[in-house]
């Protein structure tokens, strides 16, 4: 049985460098991720935390690979919801490619165990988040400042 996995690709009229910055620089990330941002130094082996506007740590993990502006691999676990935390760690791969006329962003989020609730949750969340990044980079405004 294949492990549960979420795969999503989107094309954004921007450069890989700007897209990398949007994903990793808190000043940008807060603009499209409803005030949330990654707290980390982005070095392989370093820990990371995803921090809500009110300071709550919602997700944590480790930076496994970081090759700006092309590839990021994170070990990822939700801390906020007990049933998701219980499923353990997932592996999130973010790839950025330059294509003619745009940058292609691919997110692959896969469980290490068999749990499916976490993947169901991120399958719902990623399209909203990535739609927001695309709108911000293409129009200067995210779709929503508040969580939908």
């Amino acid at each position: 049985m294949e492990k549960p996995k979420f795969v999503y690709a989107t094309y954004i009229r921007t450069t890989p460098k700007k897209l990398w910055q949007a994903l990793t620089d808190p000043a940008f990330t807060r603009q499209w991720w409803f005030g949330t941002y990654f707290k980390t130094d982005w070095k392989p082996g370093s820990p990371w935390e995803l921090i809500y506007p009110d300071g709550t740590i919602t997700d944590t993990g480790e930076i496994l690979e970081a090759t700006p502006p092309r590839r990021l691999v994170l070990k990822w676990r939700n801390e906020f919801r007990p049933e998701l935390k219980a499923e353990g760690y997932s592996r999130c791969t973010i790839e950025i490619e330059k294509t003619r006329g745009s940058a292609k962003l691919t997110v692959i989020h896969a469980m290490e165990g068999k749990g499916t609730k976490f993947i169901a949750a991120v399958s719902d969340g990623w399209p909203k988040i990535l739609s927001n990044i695309k709108s911000l980079l293409e129009t200067g405004e995210p779709l929503a400042k508040q969580k939908l």
Binding site: I12, K128, K134, S135
Partner: protein, 162 residues
């Protein structure tokens, strides 16, 4: 077994009416759908064609299909018929089915695409091409979102390469 499916959701700053118009108009689709022109009779039992660009090397045909459900600005369901290679044609017992679901959410709209009743052969393992249901839809829908939000679609090479 034709139980492979592909689901893709995106959120667009537009209205249900503008999204529906872009999805059902050939003058719009040639901009975001890599030059393909949609012609659609907006009624149950109506026909839909998705014509490849003139002079293209596509062998997929005009996708002639039937409209199964049509609720303007909310939902469209149609059958998807492409010219299969003989080995795939032998496995296919019927056309696949495409659903467009449009949900208003304040100043934005959620667009959900469901493509079901597919064969595993319809999916493409190589991510560096627009061939395959799983590669084609994200490119087309990304370009549609750009068109509706910025007035300009994303131009892709029309023959599946980079």
């Amino acid at each position: 077994m034709q139980n492979t499916e592909f689901v893709y959701a995106t959120f667009i700053r537009t209205t249900p009416e503008k999204l529906w118009a872009a999805l059902t108009s050939g003058d719009s689709s040639v901009k975001y759908w890599m030059g393909f022109r949609i012609e659609l009779e907006q009624k149950v039992g109506g026909t839909i064609h998705i014509y490849p660009p003139k002079g293209s090397t596509h062998t997929c045909g005009d996708h002639e299909g039937k409209v199964l459900e049509c609720e303007p600005n909310r939902k469209l369901v149609y059958t998807w018929n492409q010219n299969d290679q003989p080995d795939v044609a032998a496995k296919r017992s019927g056309p696949s089915r495409v659903t467009y679901e449009i949900t208003p959410m304040g100043e934005q709209v959620r667009f959900r695409l469901i493509h079901e009743n597919l064969l595993p052969d319809d999916m493409e393992k190589n991510p560096n091409t627009h061939r395959g249901i799983n590669n084609g839809w994200p490119a087309v829908i990304s370009s549609l979102k750009s068109l509706l939000e910025t007035g300009e679609a994303i131009a892709f090479p029309s023959n599946g390469g980079k």
